[in-house]
Amino acid sequence: MGELRLMKGNEALAEAAIRAGVDGYFGYPITPQSEVIEYLTAEKPYERTGMVVLQAESEVASINMLYGAGATGKKAMTSSSSPGISLMQEGISYIAGAEIPVVLVNVVRGGPGLGDIQPSQSDYFQTTKGGGHGDYRLIALAPSSVQEMSDFVPLAFELAFKYRNPAIIVSDGAIGQMMEKVELFEQMPRMTDEEIRAKYKWATNGKLEDGTRRIITSLDLDPYKLEEHNLKLQKKYKEIEENEVRYEKIMCDDAEYIIVAYGLSARISQKAIQLLREKGIKAGLLRPITLWPFPTKQIKELVDSGIKGFLSVEMSAGQMVEDVKLAVNGKVKVEHFGRLGGVVHSPEEVVEALEQKIIGG
Protein backbone atom coordinates (compact mmCIF):
# COMPACT_ATOMS: atom_id res chain seq x y z
CA MET A 1 0.00 0.00 0.00
CA GLY A 2 1.25 3.47 -0.89
CA GLU A 3 1.66 6.36 1.50
CA LEU A 4 -1.63 7.63 2.97
CA ARG A 5 -2.16 11.35 3.40
CA LEU A 6 -4.97 13.80 4.06
CA MET A 7 -4.70 16.28 1.22
CA LYS A 8 -6.62 18.86 -0.74
CA GLY A 9 -7.48 17.84 -4.28
CA ASN A 10 -5.18 20.54 -5.66
CA GLU A 11 -2.30 19.38 -3.45
CA ALA A 12 -2.82 15.74 -4.40
CA LEU A 13 -2.73 16.72 -8.07
CA ALA A 14 0.50 18.67 -7.58
CA GLU A 15 2.17 15.82 -5.68
CA ALA A 16 1.00 13.41 -8.39
CA ALA A 17 2.63 15.61 -11.03
CA ILE A 18 6.00 15.24 -9.29
CA ARG A 19 5.53 11.49 -8.80
CA ALA A 20 4.36 10.94 -12.39
CA GLY A 21 7.80 12.09 -13.59
CA VAL A 22 6.55 15.33 -15.13
CA ASP A 23 9.38 17.40 -16.62
CA GLY A 24 7.84 20.83 -16.44
CA TYR A 25 4.91 22.70 -14.92
CA PHE A 26 4.03 26.15 -16.27
CA GLY A 27 1.20 28.04 -14.64
CA TYR A 28 -0.30 31.23 -13.38
CA PRO A 29 -2.17 31.38 -10.05
CA ILE A 30 -5.95 31.69 -9.98
CA THR A 31 -8.46 30.69 -7.29
CA PRO A 32 -9.64 27.94 -6.73
CA GLN A 33 -6.52 26.12 -7.98
CA SER A 34 -3.66 28.27 -6.68
CA GLU A 35 -2.66 25.47 -4.26
CA VAL A 36 -1.24 23.57 -7.24
CA ILE A 37 1.55 26.07 -7.90
CA GLU A 38 1.85 26.90 -4.19
CA TYR A 39 2.43 23.24 -3.36
CA LEU A 40 4.87 22.75 -6.24
CA THR A 41 6.86 25.83 -5.28
CA ALA A 42 7.04 24.79 -1.62
CA GLU A 43 7.90 21.20 -2.46
CA LYS A 44 10.82 22.16 -4.75
CA PRO A 45 10.45 19.28 -7.22
CA TYR A 46 13.56 20.54 -9.06
CA GLU A 47 15.45 19.17 -6.06
CA ARG A 48 13.44 15.93 -5.88
CA THR A 49 13.28 14.89 -9.55
CA GLY A 50 14.68 17.76 -11.59
CA MET A 51 11.17 18.86 -12.59
CA VAL A 52 10.90 22.52 -13.64
CA VAL A 53 8.23 24.67 -11.99
CA LEU A 54 7.73 28.04 -13.56
CA GLN A 55 5.25 30.79 -12.78
CA ALA A 56 4.56 32.34 -16.14
CA GLU A 57 3.55 35.97 -16.61
CA SER A 58 0.08 34.96 -17.81
CA GLU A 59 -2.04 32.02 -18.90
CA VAL A 60 -1.28 32.86 -22.53
CA ALA A 61 2.41 32.49 -21.76
CA SER A 62 1.83 29.24 -19.84
CA ILE A 63 0.04 27.52 -22.69
CA ASN A 64 2.69 28.53 -25.21
CA MET A 65 5.45 27.34 -22.87
CA LEU A 66 3.53 24.07 -22.75
CA TYR A 67 3.48 23.95 -26.56
CA GLY A 68 7.23 24.38 -26.68
CA ALA A 69 8.06 21.95 -23.87
CA GLY A 70 5.61 19.32 -25.14
CA ALA A 71 7.00 19.54 -28.68
CA THR A 72 10.34 18.22 -27.40
CA GLY A 73 8.70 15.06 -26.09
CA LYS A 74 8.92 16.15 -22.47
CA LYS A 75 6.02 15.72 -20.09
CA ALA A 76 4.58 19.21 -19.65
CA MET A 77 1.62 20.32 -17.62
CA THR A 78 -0.36 23.42 -16.69
CA SER A 79 -3.35 24.10 -14.50
CA SER A 80 -5.78 26.96 -14.20
CA SER A 81 -9.40 27.78 -13.54
CA SER A 82 -12.14 28.74 -15.99
CA PRO A 83 -11.21 32.34 -17.00
CA GLY A 84 -7.57 31.26 -17.29
CA ILE A 85 -8.51 28.28 -19.44
CA SER A 86 -10.48 30.63 -21.70
CA LEU A 87 -7.30 32.66 -22.21
CA MET A 88 -5.48 29.47 -23.24
CA GLN A 89 -7.90 28.42 -25.98
CA GLU A 90 -5.83 29.65 -28.92
CA GLY A 91 -2.82 27.71 -27.66
CA ILE A 92 -4.91 24.61 -26.97
CA SER A 93 -6.17 24.59 -30.56
CA TYR A 94 -2.59 24.93 -31.85
CA ILE A 95 -1.41 22.12 -29.54
CA ALA A 96 -4.24 19.86 -30.70
CA GLY A 97 -3.50 20.71 -34.35
CA ALA A 98 0.21 20.04 -33.89
CA GLU A 99 -0.57 16.84 -31.94
CA ILE A 100 1.43 17.70 -28.83
CA PRO A 101 0.81 15.40 -25.85
CA VAL A 102 0.39 17.78 -22.91
CA VAL A 103 -1.81 17.72 -19.82
CA LEU A 104 -4.06 20.61 -18.86
CA VAL A 105 -6.04 20.94 -15.65
CA ASN A 106 -9.17 23.06 -15.24
CA VAL A 107 -10.42 23.49 -11.67
CA VAL A 108 -13.72 24.94 -12.80
CA ARG A 109 -15.33 27.98 -11.14
CA GLY A 110 -18.56 29.88 -11.74
CA GLY A 111 -18.87 31.87 -14.97
CA PRO A 112 -19.37 33.39 -17.47
CA GLY A 113 -16.77 36.13 -17.44
CA LEU A 114 -14.70 36.55 -14.31
CA GLY A 115 -17.66 34.94 -12.53
CA ASP A 116 -16.85 33.85 -8.99
CA ILE A 117 -14.53 31.42 -7.24
CA GLN A 118 -17.09 28.80 -6.25
CA PRO A 119 -17.30 25.29 -7.77
CA SER A 120 -19.07 24.96 -11.09
CA GLN A 121 -19.32 22.60 -14.08
CA SER A 122 -20.25 25.11 -16.71
CA ASP A 123 -17.10 24.55 -18.80
CA TYR A 124 -18.36 21.23 -20.23
CA PHE A 125 -19.05 22.72 -23.68
CA GLN A 126 -15.68 24.46 -23.70
CA THR A 127 -13.93 21.19 -22.79
CA THR A 128 -15.74 18.73 -25.01
CA LYS A 129 -17.00 20.79 -27.95
CA GLY A 130 -14.00 22.89 -28.80
CA GLY A 131 -13.35 26.12 -26.96
CA GLY A 132 -10.66 26.88 -29.47
CA HIS A 133 -11.16 26.87 -33.24
CA GLY A 134 -11.04 23.97 -35.64
CA ASP A 135 -12.03 20.30 -35.61
CA TYR A 136 -10.21 19.00 -32.59
CA ARG A 137 -10.81 17.00 -29.43
CA LEU A 138 -9.30 16.89 -25.97
CA ILE A 139 -9.24 13.68 -23.96
CA ALA A 140 -11.14 14.85 -20.89
CA LEU A 141 -10.94 13.11 -17.51
CA ALA A 142 -13.29 14.16 -14.71
CA PRO A 143 -12.12 13.21 -11.19
CA SER A 144 -14.77 13.02 -8.48
CA SER A 145 -12.48 12.51 -5.49
CA VAL A 146 -9.11 13.62 -4.17
CA GLN A 147 -7.82 10.11 -4.91
CA GLU A 148 -8.72 10.57 -8.57
CA MET A 149 -7.07 14.01 -8.62
CA SER A 150 -3.88 12.06 -7.93
CA ASP A 151 -4.54 8.95 -10.05
CA PHE A 152 -5.66 10.82 -13.16
CA VAL A 153 -2.37 12.71 -13.58
CA PRO A 154 -0.34 9.66 -14.74
CA LEU A 155 -3.41 8.39 -16.61
CA ALA A 156 -3.77 11.69 -18.48
CA PHE A 157 -0.11 11.58 -19.51
CA GLU A 158 -0.40 7.94 -20.55
CA LEU A 159 -3.36 8.74 -22.82
CA ALA A 160 -1.83 11.97 -24.11
CA PHE A 161 1.36 10.20 -25.23
CA LYS A 162 -0.46 7.10 -26.48
CA TYR A 163 -2.43 9.22 -28.94
CA ARG A 164 -0.21 12.31 -29.29
CA ASN A 165 -3.14 14.37 -28.14
CA PRO A 166 -3.65 16.94 -25.40
CA ALA A 167 -5.53 15.63 -22.36
CA ILE A 168 -7.42 17.72 -19.81
CA ILE A 169 -8.37 16.96 -16.22
CA VAL A 170 -11.67 18.71 -15.52
CA SER A 171 -12.16 19.23 -11.81
CA ASP A 172 -14.06 21.89 -9.88
CA GLY A 173 -13.50 24.23 -6.96
CA ALA A 174 -14.90 21.77 -4.42
CA ILE A 175 -12.83 18.75 -5.49
CA GLY A 176 -9.80 21.06 -5.60
CA GLN A 177 -10.39 22.57 -2.14
CA MET A 178 -11.67 19.60 -0.18
CA MET A 179 -9.43 17.21 1.72
CA GLU A 180 -9.77 13.45 1.62
CA LYS A 181 -7.65 10.43 2.28
CA VAL A 182 -5.35 9.78 -0.65
CA GLU A 183 -3.05 6.88 -1.30
CA LEU A 184 -0.05 8.23 -3.21
CA PHE A 185 1.55 6.14 -5.93
CA GLU A 186 5.29 5.45 -6.01
CA GLN A 187 7.67 7.90 -7.68
CA MET A 188 7.97 7.22 -11.43
CA PRO A 189 11.27 8.09 -13.11
CA ARG A 190 11.53 11.03 -15.53
CA MET A 191 12.58 9.93 -19.01
CA THR A 192 16.11 10.74 -20.09
CA ASP A 193 16.75 12.72 -23.30
CA GLU A 194 18.08 9.51 -24.91
CA GLU A 195 14.93 7.61 -23.99
CA ILE A 196 12.77 10.38 -25.43
CA ARG A 197 14.80 10.45 -28.67
CA ALA A 198 14.49 6.69 -29.01
CA LYS A 199 10.79 6.52 -28.18
CA TYR A 200 9.24 9.58 -29.82
CA LYS A 201 10.36 10.00 -33.42
CA TRP A 202 8.16 13.07 -33.76
CA ALA A 203 9.77 15.02 -30.93
CA THR A 204 11.73 18.10 -31.98
CA ASN A 205 14.97 17.52 -30.14
CA GLY A 206 17.42 17.30 -33.03
CA LYS A 207 17.62 15.63 -36.43
CA LEU A 208 17.00 11.92 -36.76
CA GLU A 209 20.07 9.72 -37.31
CA ASP A 210 19.48 9.70 -41.08
CA GLY A 211 19.47 13.48 -41.08
CA THR A 212 15.68 13.91 -41.35
CA ARG A 213 14.48 17.11 -39.75
CA ARG A 214 11.57 16.87 -37.37
CA ILE A 215 8.91 19.48 -37.87
CA ILE A 216 5.96 20.28 -35.65
CA THR A 217 3.44 22.80 -36.89
CA SER A 218 -0.26 23.44 -37.00
CA LEU A 219 0.03 25.46 -40.23
CA ASP A 220 -0.45 24.08 -43.73
CA LEU A 221 -1.50 26.52 -46.43
CA ASP A 222 -2.31 23.75 -48.91
CA PRO A 223 -5.98 22.92 -48.21
CA TYR A 224 -5.65 19.38 -49.60
CA LYS A 225 -2.77 18.64 -47.28
CA LEU A 226 -4.64 20.22 -44.37
CA GLU A 227 -7.68 18.11 -45.21
CA GLU A 228 -5.47 15.03 -45.14
CA HIS A 229 -4.14 16.10 -41.74
CA ASN A 230 -7.70 16.62 -40.49
CA LEU A 231 -8.74 13.17 -41.71
CA LYS A 232 -5.80 11.70 -39.84
CA LEU A 233 -6.90 13.54 -36.69
CA GLN A 234 -10.48 12.32 -37.15
CA LYS A 235 -9.26 8.74 -37.50
CA LYS A 236 -7.35 9.14 -34.25
CA TYR A 237 -10.40 10.60 -32.49
CA LYS A 238 -12.50 7.66 -33.70
CA GLU A 239 -9.94 5.26 -32.25
CA ILE A 240 -10.00 7.12 -28.91
CA GLU A 241 -13.81 6.97 -28.91
CA GLU A 242 -13.65 3.24 -29.44
CA ASN A 243 -10.98 2.44 -26.87
CA GLU A 244 -10.87 5.00 -24.10
CA VAL A 245 -14.39 5.52 -22.73
CA ARG A 246 -14.28 5.34 -18.96
CA TYR A 247 -17.24 5.41 -16.61
CA GLU A 248 -18.55 4.06 -13.33
CA LYS A 249 -21.97 2.54 -12.73
CA ILE A 250 -23.42 2.65 -9.22
CA MET A 251 -26.57 0.69 -8.39
CA CYS A 252 -27.64 0.49 -12.04
CA ASP A 253 -28.41 -3.25 -12.13
CA ASP A 254 -31.99 -3.03 -10.84
CA ALA A 255 -32.50 0.69 -11.51
CA GLU A 256 -35.60 2.16 -13.15
CA TYR A 257 -34.19 5.68 -13.29
CA ILE A 258 -30.64 6.82 -13.98
CA ILE A 259 -28.86 9.95 -12.89
CA VAL A 260 -25.95 10.88 -15.16
CA ALA A 261 -23.43 13.05 -13.35
CA TYR A 262 -19.67 13.60 -13.17
CA GLY A 263 -17.23 15.13 -10.68
CA LEU A 264 -18.75 16.75 -7.60
CA SER A 265 -22.28 16.30 -8.97
CA ALA A 266 -21.69 12.55 -9.14
CA ARG A 267 -20.82 12.50 -5.44
CA ILE A 268 -23.91 14.54 -4.57
CA SER A 269 -26.06 12.34 -6.82
CA GLN A 270 -24.71 9.20 -5.17
CA LYS A 271 -26.12 10.50 -1.87
CA ALA A 272 -29.35 11.37 -3.68
CA ILE A 273 -29.60 7.78 -4.89
CA GLN A 274 -29.27 6.51 -1.32
CA LEU A 275 -32.08 8.88 -0.27
CA LEU A 276 -34.25 7.83 -3.25
CA ARG A 277 -33.77 4.15 -2.46
CA GLU A 278 -34.77 4.81 1.15
CA LYS A 279 -38.03 6.10 -0.34
CA GLY A 280 -38.40 2.96 -2.46
CA ILE A 281 -37.39 4.57 -5.77
CA LYS A 282 -34.91 2.44 -7.69
CA ALA A 283 -32.38 4.95 -8.98
CA GLY A 284 -28.84 4.36 -10.23
CA LEU A 285 -25.89 6.52 -11.18
CA LEU A 286 -23.88 6.54 -14.38
CA ARG A 287 -20.72 8.58 -13.82
CA PRO A 288 -18.82 9.51 -16.98
CA ILE A 289 -15.12 9.48 -16.05
CA THR A 290 -14.14 10.55 -19.56
CA LEU A 291 -16.32 13.48 -20.65
CA TRP A 292 -14.80 12.97 -24.08
CA PRO A 293 -15.00 10.27 -25.24
CA PHE A 294 -18.50 10.19 -23.75
CA PRO A 295 -20.10 6.90 -22.59
CA THR A 296 -22.75 7.06 -25.32
CA LYS A 297 -22.83 3.31 -25.86
CA GLN A 298 -23.32 2.63 -22.15
CA ILE A 299 -26.30 5.01 -22.04
CA LYS A 300 -27.81 3.31 -25.11
CA GLU A 301 -27.44 -0.06 -23.37
CA LEU A 302 -29.23 1.31 -20.30
CA VAL A 303 -32.08 2.57 -22.52
CA ASP A 304 -32.33 -0.89 -24.11
CA SER A 305 -32.40 -2.51 -20.66
CA GLY A 306 -35.65 -0.67 -19.91
CA ILE A 307 -34.66 2.48 -17.99
CA LYS A 308 -37.70 4.76 -17.70
CA GLY A 309 -35.92 8.11 -17.59
CA PHE A 310 -32.60 9.92 -17.22
CA LEU A 311 -31.73 12.99 -15.15
CA SER A 312 -28.51 14.73 -16.09
CA VAL A 313 -27.18 16.54 -13.00
CA GLU A 314 -24.45 19.12 -13.50
CA MET A 315 -23.63 22.52 -11.99
CA SER A 316 -24.55 24.30 -15.21
CA ALA A 317 -27.61 25.38 -17.16
CA GLY A 318 -27.61 22.07 -19.02
CA GLN A 319 -24.58 21.19 -21.14
CA MET A 320 -23.83 17.48 -20.71
CA VAL A 321 -27.57 16.82 -20.97
CA GLU A 322 -27.21 17.37 -24.74
CA ASP A 323 -24.88 14.37 -24.98
CA VAL A 324 -27.22 12.30 -22.81
CA LYS A 325 -30.10 13.24 -25.14
CA LEU A 326 -28.09 12.27 -28.21
CA ALA A 327 -27.36 8.88 -26.65
CA VAL A 328 -30.96 8.29 -25.54
CA ASN A 329 -32.17 9.44 -28.96
CA GLY A 330 -35.68 10.36 -27.87
CA LYS A 331 -36.57 6.90 -26.63
CA VAL A 332 -37.25 7.91 -23.01
CA LYS A 333 -37.43 11.11 -21.04
CA VAL A 334 -34.21 13.07 -20.40
CA GLU A 335 -34.12 16.18 -18.21
CA HIS A 336 -31.46 18.41 -16.73
CA PHE A 337 -31.06 19.66 -13.18
CA GLY A 338 -28.38 21.92 -11.79
CA ARG A 339 -27.67 25.07 -9.81
CA LEU A 340 -25.75 27.88 -11.48
CA GLY A 341 -23.03 30.42 -10.94
CA GLY A 342 -21.11 28.50 -8.26
CA VAL A 343 -24.12 27.41 -6.19
CA VAL A 344 -23.82 23.72 -5.33
CA HIS A 345 -27.00 21.64 -5.34
CA SER A 346 -27.81 19.50 -2.33
CA PRO A 347 -28.63 15.77 -2.48
CA GLU A 348 -32.20 16.67 -1.41
CA GLU A 349 -32.59 19.02 -4.39
CA VAL A 350 -31.46 16.24 -6.74
CA VAL A 351 -34.02 13.87 -5.18
CA GLU A 352 -36.76 16.45 -5.69
CA ALA A 353 -35.67 17.09 -9.30
CA LEU A 354 -35.83 13.39 -10.18
CA GLU A 355 -39.23 13.04 -8.54
CA GLN A 356 -40.71 16.10 -10.22
CA LYS A 357 -39.04 16.17 -13.63
CA ILE A 358 -38.71 12.47 -14.42
CA ILE A 359 -41.11 10.41 -12.29
CA GLY A 360 -43.91 12.94 -11.91
CA GLY A 361 -43.34 14.80 -15.17
Binding site: L6, A174, M178, M179, K181, R267, I268, Q270, K271, E348
Partner: protein
Amino acid sequence: MTEEIIIAGFGGQGVLSMGKILAYSGIMQNQEVSWMPAYGPEMRGGTANVTAIISDERISSPILQVFDTAIILNQQSMDKFESAVKPGGILLYDPNGISHHPSRKDINIYKVEGAKLAAEMGNTKIFNMVVLGAYLKIRPIVKLENVMKGLKKSLPERYHKLLPLNEDAINMGMKNVITVQEV
Protein backbone atom coordinates in the same frame (compact mmCIF):
# COMPACT_ATOMS: atom_id res chain seq x y z
CA MET B 1 -21.03 4.04 10.73
CA THR B 2 -21.18 7.38 8.98
CA GLU B 3 -20.97 10.63 10.94
CA GLU B 4 -21.71 13.86 9.08
CA ILE B 5 -20.55 16.91 11.01
CA ILE B 6 -20.65 20.66 10.46
CA ILE B 7 -18.26 22.78 12.51
CA ALA B 8 -18.98 26.50 12.33
CA GLY B 9 -17.70 29.66 13.98
CA PHE B 10 -15.54 32.73 13.41
CA GLY B 11 -12.45 32.58 11.23
CA GLY B 12 -9.42 32.13 13.51
CA GLN B 13 -11.22 29.98 16.08
CA GLY B 14 -9.61 26.84 14.72
CA VAL B 15 -12.78 25.57 13.06
CA LEU B 16 -11.00 24.26 9.97
CA SER B 17 -8.16 22.68 11.93
CA MET B 18 -10.62 20.96 14.27
CA GLY B 19 -12.20 19.32 11.24
CA LYS B 20 -8.79 18.45 9.87
CA ILE B 21 -7.69 16.76 13.09
CA LEU B 22 -10.94 14.81 13.17
CA ALA B 23 -10.39 13.72 9.57
CA TYR B 24 -6.80 12.69 10.25
CA SER B 25 -7.95 10.70 13.29
CA GLY B 26 -10.38 8.84 11.04
CA ILE B 27 -7.56 7.96 8.63
CA MET B 28 -5.50 6.66 11.59
CA GLN B 29 -8.23 4.11 12.24
CA ASN B 30 -8.67 3.15 8.57
CA GLN B 31 -11.86 5.08 7.93
CA GLU B 32 -12.91 7.12 4.93
CA VAL B 33 -12.92 10.87 5.53
CA SER B 34 -13.77 14.09 3.78
CA TRP B 35 -13.19 17.71 4.80
CA MET B 36 -14.96 20.39 2.82
CA PRO B 37 -14.45 24.00 3.87
CA ALA B 38 -16.63 26.91 2.90
CA TYR B 39 -13.99 28.83 0.99
CA GLY B 40 -13.97 32.09 -0.83
CA PRO B 41 -15.51 35.42 0.13
CA GLU B 42 -17.21 33.86 3.17
CA MET B 43 -13.92 33.06 4.87
CA ARG B 44 -12.50 36.55 4.65
CA GLY B 45 -13.19 38.11 8.03
CA GLY B 46 -16.52 36.50 8.66
CA THR B 47 -17.72 33.05 9.52
CA ALA B 48 -15.83 29.86 8.79
CA ASN B 49 -17.33 26.43 8.51
CA VAL B 50 -16.28 22.98 7.48
CA THR B 51 -18.16 19.79 6.72
CA ALA B 52 -16.29 16.77 8.05
CA ILE B 53 -17.48 13.24 7.29
CA ILE B 54 -16.07 10.09 8.84
CA SER B 55 -17.36 6.77 7.59
CA ASP B 56 -16.66 3.07 7.36
CA GLU B 57 -17.82 3.20 3.74
CA ARG B 58 -16.96 5.22 0.65
CA ILE B 59 -18.27 8.74 1.20
CA SER B 60 -20.85 10.04 -1.26
CA SER B 61 -21.59 13.76 -1.10
CA PRO B 62 -18.94 15.88 0.65
CA ILE B 63 -21.40 18.80 0.67
CA LEU B 64 -24.55 18.45 2.74
CA GLN B 65 -27.64 20.31 3.86
CA VAL B 66 -28.42 18.27 6.98
CA PHE B 67 -26.01 16.88 9.55
CA ASP B 68 -25.78 14.28 12.32
CA THR B 69 -23.87 16.78 14.44
CA ALA B 70 -23.42 20.55 14.45
CA ILE B 71 -20.59 22.07 16.50
CA ILE B 72 -21.43 25.74 16.78
CA LEU B 73 -19.11 28.44 18.02
CA ASN B 74 -20.81 31.76 17.32
CA GLN B 75 -24.27 33.31 17.00
CA GLN B 76 -24.28 33.60 13.19
CA SER B 77 -23.52 29.90 12.93
CA MET B 78 -26.25 29.10 15.44
CA ASP B 79 -28.75 31.06 13.34
CA LYS B 80 -27.61 29.23 10.21
CA PHE B 81 -27.10 25.65 11.37
CA GLU B 82 -29.45 24.90 14.31
CA SER B 83 -32.14 23.98 11.79
CA ALA B 84 -29.67 21.81 9.81
CA VAL B 85 -29.32 19.14 12.52
CA LYS B 86 -31.17 15.90 11.72
CA PRO B 87 -33.97 15.09 14.20
CA GLY B 88 -32.34 13.04 16.97
CA GLY B 89 -28.95 14.51 16.05
CA ILE B 90 -26.50 16.45 18.16
CA LEU B 91 -25.90 20.17 18.63
CA LEU B 92 -22.84 21.09 20.68
CA TYR B 93 -22.09 24.75 21.33
CA ASP B 94 -19.97 27.12 23.32
CA PRO B 95 -22.32 29.55 25.11
CA ASN B 96 -19.66 32.29 25.02
CA GLY B 97 -21.12 35.05 22.84
CA ILE B 98 -24.40 33.26 22.24
CA SER B 99 -27.45 35.42 22.90
CA HIS B 100 -30.12 33.16 21.34
CA HIS B 101 -29.69 29.68 22.72
CA PRO B 102 -30.92 26.71 20.69
CA SER B 103 -34.63 26.06 21.04
CA ARG B 104 -35.31 22.86 19.09
CA LYS B 105 -36.94 20.09 21.09
CA ASP B 106 -36.15 17.16 18.77
CA ILE B 107 -32.34 17.14 19.01
CA ASN B 108 -29.74 16.44 21.68
CA ILE B 109 -28.15 19.65 22.91
CA TYR B 110 -24.87 19.95 24.80
CA LYS B 111 -22.64 22.84 25.69
CA VAL B 112 -19.05 23.34 26.74
CA GLU B 113 -17.38 26.50 28.02
CA GLY B 114 -14.55 26.11 25.54
CA ALA B 115 -13.30 29.70 25.47
CA LYS B 116 -13.45 30.03 29.26
CA LEU B 117 -11.72 26.71 29.95
CA ALA B 118 -8.98 27.40 27.42
CA ALA B 119 -8.36 30.79 29.03
CA GLU B 120 -8.15 29.13 32.43
CA MET B 121 -5.58 26.73 31.03
CA GLY B 122 -3.56 29.75 29.96
CA ASN B 123 -3.79 29.36 26.17
CA THR B 124 -6.84 30.53 24.27
CA LYS B 125 -5.55 28.87 21.10
CA ILE B 126 -6.41 25.41 22.44
CA PHE B 127 -10.08 26.41 22.57
CA ASN B 128 -10.89 24.20 19.58
CA MET B 129 -9.30 21.17 21.25
CA VAL B 130 -11.46 21.67 24.35
CA VAL B 131 -14.53 21.69 22.12
CA LEU B 132 -13.26 18.64 20.20
CA GLY B 133 -12.84 16.84 23.54
CA ALA B 134 -16.43 17.65 24.48
CA TYR B 135 -17.63 16.29 21.15
CA LEU B 136 -15.63 13.07 21.50
CA LYS B 137 -17.13 12.54 24.95
CA ILE B 138 -20.62 12.73 23.40
CA ARG B 139 -19.75 10.82 20.23
CA PRO B 140 -16.62 8.69 20.68
CA ILE B 141 -16.30 8.06 16.92
CA VAL B 142 -12.52 8.18 17.04
CA LYS B 143 -10.25 6.91 19.81
CA LEU B 144 -8.19 9.46 21.75
CA GLU B 145 -4.97 7.68 20.80
CA ASN B 146 -5.89 8.11 17.12
CA VAL B 147 -6.70 11.78 17.68
CA MET B 148 -3.21 12.21 19.11
CA LYS B 149 -1.70 10.36 16.15
CA GLY B 150 -3.77 12.52 13.79
CA LEU B 151 -2.69 15.67 15.60
CA LYS B 152 0.94 14.62 15.30
CA LYS B 153 0.48 14.10 11.56
CA SER B 154 -1.29 17.41 10.95
CA LEU B 155 1.00 19.60 13.09
CA PRO B 156 4.40 20.65 11.74
CA GLU B 157 7.23 19.12 13.82
CA ARG B 158 8.17 22.43 15.42
CA TYR B 159 4.81 22.39 17.24
CA HIS B 160 5.09 18.82 18.52
CA LYS B 161 6.09 20.13 21.94
CA LEU B 162 2.51 21.39 22.22
CA LEU B 163 1.02 17.89 21.87
CA PRO B 164 0.68 17.29 25.66
CA LEU B 165 -1.11 20.64 26.05
CA ASN B 166 -3.53 19.67 23.28
CA GLU B 167 -4.17 16.33 24.95
CA ASP B 168 -4.89 18.11 28.25
CA ALA B 169 -7.30 20.40 26.41
CA ILE B 170 -9.16 17.44 24.91
CA ASN B 171 -9.43 15.85 28.36
CA MET B 172 -10.61 19.15 29.81
CA GLY B 173 -13.42 19.25 27.22
CA MET B 174 -14.35 15.64 27.90
CA LYS B 175 -14.73 16.35 31.62
CA ASN B 176 -16.72 19.55 31.21
CA VAL B 177 -19.42 18.83 28.68
CA ILE B 178 -22.85 19.86 29.98
CA THR B 179 -26.02 18.12 28.86
CA VAL B 180 -28.74 20.66 28.07
CA GLN B 181 -31.30 18.19 26.74
CA GLU B 182 -31.37 14.63 25.45
CA VAL B 183 -34.17 13.18 23.35
